[in-house]
């Protein structure tokens, strides 16, 4: 690999330099360049040998010879460096061209788990309500008939029980699968000291045949505010804030009479359909979507909770979480929510 074993000055200096420069110019990579560098500038390279031969020269020739050798050394080093820069630039250029890159290849799959869409919407609402001073409460799914009905001003044989389609847990009818989250209203009144604001997310049950829009198990969020002189105007204000939180914009709302024995007056709250201007399948072409039942807490309910209706008043509402999730994601079959199918779950 070392150059031919030549003694100085077998070749004149210019020829040596020219040969070196040519060798450098044809180098196509760093490795070849390194070989040339070793040949000329290495420990046993051409320049080293030139320098080693100097003592054999006549003393008057020595300074010139030394100078020449150093010039050759510098010139070769410069040429090598220049060539290296050129090679680096070419390499970068080649990389930049992106040869062989297919921009249409799919991304690597990022693996992850998922939170149930009901969990997601529940969290959002809990956070929203907590920011407004509500506390989040929980209540049992297997509920006493007393809290589910009696305490809510729905005595036995009240026609309103018809629409509740209740699952009974015993022949005596003492226990039911709660038909709504409302039983927590009186449970909360028994525990807390007014004024207070609460929300209660949870599972509810209705004894009905399932289809794409009905399931015997669904999720609701109850809200209850108890204070002094709580009015319908406050309810309207709170509901507008709630809808702003859900839909991220102001929606026109309307209250219309609705009958629920545990509120008086009772309302159905409709919001302008957020999905259309002139009627669509979601709002059944009415431009209104029925969002939640609500009302001022009935004095009998306040009394059941140990509160004096002359002193305390309040409002309550029940938000259908399952329905909200379906609206938000355009889910056309409620039964997907509780079916536990990974193909559904992993989308959220």
């Amino acid at each position: 690999m070392a150059g031919p074993d030549r003694e100085f000055p077998l070749e004149n200096d210019e020829a040596t330099l020219e040969r070196a420069q040519q060798q450098i110019l044809v180098c196509q990579d760093s490795q070849a360049l390194k070989a040339v560098e070793r040949e000329y500038l290495g420990k046993k390279g051409v320049v080293a040998r030139l320098l080693a031969s100097i003592p054999q020269l006549a003393p008057e020739q020595r300074p010139q010879a030394g100078k020449t050798a150093n010039q050759i050394k510098q010139a070769v080093a410069q040429a090598i460096e220049a060539r290296q820069r050129a090679l680096d630039a070419a390499t970068l250029e080649a990389e930049r061209s992106g040869a062989g890159f297919d921009a249409s290849l799919p991304p690597a799959r990022a693996l992850r788990g998922s939170l149930h869409p009901l969990t997601q919407v529940t969290r959002e609402l809990e956070d929203l309500f907590q920011s407004m001073g509500y506390q989040v409460l929980d209540g049992p799914e297997v509920e006493l008939d007393y809290y589910n009905f009696e305490a809510l001003n729905i005595p036995a044989d009240h026609p309103a029980r018809d629409s509740q389609d209740t699952f009974y847990c015993d022949e005596q009818g003492h226990f039911v699968m709660r038909t709504h989250t409302s039983p927590v209203q009186v449970r909360a009144m028994e525990r807390l000291t007014p004024p207070y604001r609460i929300v209660v997310p949870g599972k509810c049950f209705r004894q009905e045949t399932t289809d794409a829009s009905h399931d015997h198990t669904f999720h609701q969020m109850e809200g209850l505010v108890v204070g002094v002189d709580i009015s319908v105007a406050h309810l309207i204000g709170a509901m507008k804030t709630l809808l702003r939180g859900i839909f991220k914009r102001d929606l026109e709302i309307r209250l219309r009479p609705g009958f629920f024995p545990f509120v008086e007056p009772g309302f159905e709250l409709d919001a302008r359909c957020p999905f259309c201007q002139a009627g669509c399948s979601v709002c059944k072409r009415t431009t209104w979507i029925e969002l939640l039942p609500c009302g001022l807490v009935h004095p009998n309910v306040l009394r059941a909770g140990g509160l004096d209706p002359e002193q305390w008043s309040g409002f309550a509402f029940g938000l259908g979480l399952s329905r909200l999730v379906m609206l938000r994601h355009g889910i056309d079959d409620i039964r997907h929510l509780l079916a536990g199918d990974v193909r559904f779950l992993e989308q959220f």
Binding site: L115, G237, A238, G340
Partner: protein, 808 residues
Amino acid sequence: MYVSYRWLGRHVDLSGISPQQLCEDLTLSTAEVEGLERFAPHLSDVVVGHVKDRQQHPDADKLSVCQVELGDGDALTIVCGAPNVAQGQRVAVARPGTVLPGDFKIKKSKIRGVPSHGMICSIRELDLGDEHEGIWVLPEQSAIGRPVDEALGIEDWVIEIDNKSLTHRPDLWGHRGIAAELAAIYSRALEPLQAEMPRSGGDPAFPLRIESASCSRYIALPIDGARPLPSPDWLRWLLLAVGQRPLDQIVDLSNFVMLDIGQPNHTFDRGRLASQGIVVRNAREGERMRTLDAEERSLLASDLLICSGDEPVALAGIMGGEGSKVADDTSQLLLEVAAFDPVAIRRTSARLGLRTESSARFEKSLDPTLPLLAAGHFARLLQTLQPEVSFPAAPSDAGDWRDPAHEIALRTDRVRRALGKELEDGEIAAILGRLGFGVRPHANGFMVSVPSARATKDITIEQDLVEEVGRIHRYGNLPERSMSSVIAPPPPDERRLLVRGIQDRLAGGARFHEVLSYSFISDDMLERVGMSGLAHVRIINPVVQGQDKVRRSVLPSLLTNLEGNRRQRDDVRLFEIGKGYRPEQPSERGEPQELHLLGLVWATPPAAKHARFDDDRLAQLYGVITDLIDSLDLEPPDWEGKRPLPSWLHPAKSRTASWLQEDKPAIVLGELEPGLTRALGLSDDLASDVAVAEISLDALLSAPRRSGRYQPIARFPGIKLDVAVSLTDETPAKAVLDAIEQAGKGVVADAELFDVYRGDNIGAGRKSLAYHVLLQSQSKTLTDKDEQKFLRRFEQLVAKLGGELRKG
């Protein structure tokens, strides 16, 4: 409930108010309108034709060839098969292109060689009744060429009102009640109802005895000379509009009165009633009767009967009996109009599954003053239709009823405070007046008298009047206010924070999908998981038979769809946070114990034969749970616990953990019971390794918190070394770890098992465990001497375990 727009117009002037507007206003002030549809919309496509000429069809005896004039000059040729078609008639003509009920499109055709350009319609073809013997002959003065509904003046709209929104309003179960609402909404007058009882003869009153407290009033009116003639058109059209098939005048009037003023009533064939007359009594236990729908009903003592003497002739307030049916030749009738106990009617009707127009009304608590009005209404209408009928005796009117009309003191300030708006007293009084309430000044507001129609149940307290004012004033006219009261910040919600922490950790790094499941668990699944012997809360009326148990544990729910999910994905990781109910330790009030539980399932195809020791589901789920506990800032639990395992766990490959000495483990973890894995369908191509765990959230909540104190970063370099020991298979890995800790007391900064090996070169029944060990001191740089000292001690300790240090 269906309401006819035209019918409402009989009670209140609706001029200038479109059906659409009316529906909107009813929805906003009274009750939810669910639908609004044209009545018989095809009647505006079918036009009045004049049969100018009728000739026998040249090729068919029973067909006529008619020239029908439609008012536009020309006459259409129509071939008609009806026997009653005749020249000069006004008839209903469907032209080619018209679509009749049943999606029947009229086309031009040729009938036996004669072209026909449309159809002359029968009543049945227009879906207006069953008559089909001939075509429908219209009144002579009907305007030729006009749509039939317009020509007859029967254009109508059918309004459907959501029954649920009428649950509390017995007064709205008839057109007059709705009309009264409209009168209040639009400030118009309600037309008076002419319903005084007509003059009656001097016969002795019809015998009547009430023996049950469930009947508070019973009116029996004998009627003579009534005939079951067809009803006049005005009556037929109104009944048709609300979906009732007209039958004859007696039946139709009975229905009309109910739909008009909301009071159900019944007519008996008086000739077939016993001489003792009507007895209202409770049924005897096990007594039987056959109702008009030909069903044999078995009765309880709580059911109320109308009897002829002792013979049941009607199930009170629900349905008549077969025995009392009014026959065609009957001319002697007895009209029943009564007030029954809503609860009794509701119970009987619910038990028998027999819901009728009548029972739906009675169970709403009808006004007990209404029966006399209804009897008069019926009698007057019948007399108008059949002037020859007579009423031989004054109505028998019995019962221990009282007028429910009462007064409520209304503090007008309460109205303003509840609605959140400064309404003037005068406006409040005006609204109540429009609704038919009497209003007179009283302390702090008014004394409001509630008319009987609203007084049975609906309006009983001050708040009910607030609603009346609010809904007529319109809730949309109330302002929006934010609450000004000061609320203390809610206390931190530990349980919810815990739940969120778990959800985020599992759905994040651990890549589990969160599931929410039904709380009901099938008998089949309980059987498979070996839990069918345990006590469960049971649903007595499940939607699906065999789905009547409320789960004790969330884990079986997660297994329900495991096979389906494994079919879709190789790696299935699911968790659920939910409740389980255990009835064996009820609360004082009998409530089952409620457990908040976290369940986890991880299923994958079986691990490869020579997979790393920690590449199996159980080890990895163990890792997930350990990490979860760590992320929740809890002390590590004690995994040594030997506690009873649930039936779904592998009896050997499982472990439990607790923090405190509780009687139940806080965590159970293991492989799924192998028999269960197969029973779940996870075999053959779906063969799976399944690790499962269930964790009590209550235990997590009470578990001790980690101190969270910072560990200083080591300032002195450590020594990394690997050690391997061979031991008998029975020696637990924990013993080796303990030996490492002991050998390097105080300087073992880390010891990580990285290999478990079994093979010929270490002998049968033995295993090799290999560890990365980091020795590090907080106070000095360790040297070779320290390492040698550790190894020497370690070798001795291993020897005590019957093992040996592997070298090289």
